[in-house]
Symmetry: C2
């Protein structure tokens, strides 16, 4: 990109920044809580209008009962297509007393915009639209074919999207994908995540009696739901953190030499974890930051998310509980699949004599990784360095999960991250906010990235 | 007891029955919830007045911060002393919407008086006072020395009483004790309980992190409180119901030949348990009702009363919980002691590597048994048969617990049960009530029992 054109792009972004904030505030002011359904149709309408006014043709599908928005811009000559994946739904606001301003009344203070969704994911969506606006302002048009896929149940598991995508591969066909998130670490260094772990969520539920009993009555002779649940859980993972389900590790791929190379560039998070979560002893001793990262992200996990049975109030109560339940999630690494894990878990519980335990499948997503050597990855990294003035840190995989697998498998495209995210931004918590300085830099990065993606011959450096 | 005197006793009980109901209603109308302290001092005053108006000298001690009432009547000539143990506190009312009439506004309907405490323990106390009134009405005086010990924290563990009693053995010296409960089974057959299991209540509490984490972040490397609690619990008892704490069974006495003899007369409860609690498979297969009873009551137990950790709402939440807790009770049999079990439990948790688990001791009581061959037991059984017209069933031990150990050990007296209890009376639940027919029969039994205890030479049969 010629220097004068890049300067024009920066100027266009700066000139439009107040309008960008207004649009973000309007979007964040529209509740869209997928857990309860609050404002979901209204928000879908608003997002559709935002695309249409930019010249996109918009189709609204219904996936799992929820509006799924597809917006498309067809370039007159370009053969290249960029797909942006987003979601317009947000997490519930949680404890309102912890918010300094109402979650759906956006407020700018201390150089940041505060609102539920400011980062996750409305700020991300707006940053990409603002980048496109700037490119158009400078060059007169978008640089390539564009597709936006914007779902309304990312915060509740993307069930509809994961079913929709394999059925609409022609519609969604593209050469590259920008994922719904992206951003910097606590040193404002940009990050590039090239994969997500998979996840499989379950609930184990057990009813051993038709009503609670008195422990003096049945303690010795009645089955106790809490005990059976405890034994079932203890049979799943031993105290050395090894999952005991036969075949659980069958499809686990070890990190490659390239993964180790990338991991060596990733700074250790352990001091941060010690400070933030009070971790005294990590479950694994790491010989190096690289090993620490690979232990954290390249291994599958089995986490108890919750336990519930009997009396939980103050003091004691001599009850023998009739029912008990546990929430459980497995984080999966390539090539583990949620359905495979569900089947192995059920078979193991049965084999262990726990066929009285009901297994509720709360959904999941397979793991997915993008090839770090893909040219689009290199472009994303290069443009990030230009926009942020720092070399990005490349994570071959992120410990979290999302529906990236279907994009990788059915659309066969590279998936990169770029955006306004920053630690401490309150994602999923109170006082979620986007820093305005990072919002502007993210728009610059996205404008550069999209412009260069559409213009192969653009110079790669200033 | 001469026939005409027995007839006079029955007539006196019947004549005073309306007044007995009024007194019971007044007592039940006074809240006295030890869990919250509601009405405790007021109820202690009321009970003191009930004793004083009957000629008792009353001292009110403070035990564990709660009024403990001691009432004494000294007979001019008798050398025999009867001790009655009671409590004036009641369980919380629980869910008010389940009560057909307000718990502290006693109501007589369908031949029963409904109120919190109608059975446990205010109806029992009033039945004994009514028995004494009848004896005095017929003979002009009480038949022996009388002592009433009435505590205010039986429903919360009798902590004060268990400390008070060993320090006041002279004050409480007696020849026999009538326990706070007693009554009939579902066939209106009187029951005689000659012992109580002990109990030791604990909470296991664990804080592994200073705040909840995201399972995608720490699943593989952060300690998880729910997992550690699960493993700790699973280490306490195996799936064959065997407690794994070293030395746990050291002091367990097996049932004697006499226990087996008594057990052979006890009807099986297993059909009732199947119907009431939906038990599909009992933990132990019994060859006979006697064996079923002994399995249920003569073996110590370890019961999880409650589990609490992390997310327990609908669907899934990918949280890694910072804290977890479990409530646990052990039912103890002679000669196990709560302090011994607490020490062994702590040592075992430490030895298993769970020294990060905090052990909260929620109190307990040792097991205690009365010699079935004691003459006072025979008198209680004989008079029950006379009053109820049925041979009582004698239980060498009850599966439940209470502070009888200190009475047996420090006062060295036999402890028997007699009273107004009946199954389905809603003890600890909503709509607690005492059946008026059983109240009158219980007063007869108690009048006969106390009269004959005080008058050695009274004929044993009509």
């Amino acid at each position: 990109m010629p220097t004068d054109q890049y300067s024009q792009l920066l100027s266009a972004i700066t000139a439009a920044f107040p309008a960008t904030l207004v649009e973000l505030a309007e979007l964040c002011g529209q509740p869209s809580v997928s857990a309860s359904g609050w404002g979901i149709p209204e928000c879908a309408d608003l997002v559709s209008r935002m695309l249409r006014k930019r010249g996109f043709a918009v189709q609204v599908f219904t996936a799992n009962g929820v509006p799924l928005i597809f917006g498309e811009y067809r370039h007159p000559t370009s053969s290249k297509t960029l797909l942006c994946y987003h979601h317009y739904d947000v997490q519930p606001e949680g404890d309102l007393s912890l918010w300094q301003s109402p979650p759906f009344e956006p407020q700018v203070r201390n150089g940041a915009l505060y609102a539920r969704g400011a980062l996750d994911d409305k700020g991300q969506l707006v940053s990409r639209l603002a980048a496109l606006d700037a490119i158009k302002a400078v060059t007169g048009s978008y640089p390539c074919n564009l597709k936006f896929l914007i779902e309304g149940e990312e915060e509740t598991g993307s069930t509809g999207l994961q079913a929709f995508l394999p059925e609409h591969t022609d519609l969604l066909k593209a050469d590259a994908c920008i994922w719904e998130f992206g951003g910097v670490n606590s040193q404002d260094t940009p990050l590039q995540f090239l994969g997500l772990r998979g996840i499989a969520c379950f609930e184990l539920r057990l009813k051993a009696l038709t009503r609670d009993a008195h422990s003096g009555l049945g303690g010795a002779i009645f089955p106790n739901a809490a005990w059976r649940l405890t034994w079932a859980l203890a049979s799943l993972k031993d105290r050395f953190e090894r999952v005991q389900i036969p075949g659980f590790y069958d499809n686990v791929r070890l990190p490659s030499a390239l993964d180790w190379q990338m991991a060596a560039e990733i700074p250790s998070q352990r001091d941060y974890y010690r400070q933030m979560f009070g971790v005294q002893d990590f479950l694994r001793a790491a010989q190096s930051p690289a090993e620490a990262y690979l232990q954290e992200v390249f291994e599958p996990t089995c986490t108890i998310n919750g336990l519930n049975s009997g009396y939980q109030g103050p003091g004691s109560m001599t009850v023998l509980p009739a029912v008990a339940s546990a929430k459980l999630d497995f984080r999966l690494v390539p090539d583990q699949m949620p359905a495979e894990i569900a089947q192995k878990l059920r078979a193991y519980l049965d084999a262990q004599g726990f066929d009285d335990i009901e297994l509720l499948d709360w959904g999941g997503a397979p793991p997915g990784r993008t090839d770090p050597n893909h040219p689009f990855v290199k472009l994303a990294v290069e443009t990030a360095e230009q926009a942020y003035g720092k070399k990005p840190i490349i994570y071959p995989m992120n410990g979290a999960s999302g529906p990236n697998y279907v994009f990788l498998k059915y659309l066969n495209l590279p998936v990169i991250t770029a955006g306004v995210g920053h630690p401490g931004g309150g994602v999923h918590g109170p006082n979620e906010h986007v820093r305005l300085d990072l919002l502007e830099i993210a728009i610059r990065h996205l404008a550069l990235l999209i412009f260069r993606f559409g213009n192969d011959n653009a110079p790669t450096r200033l």
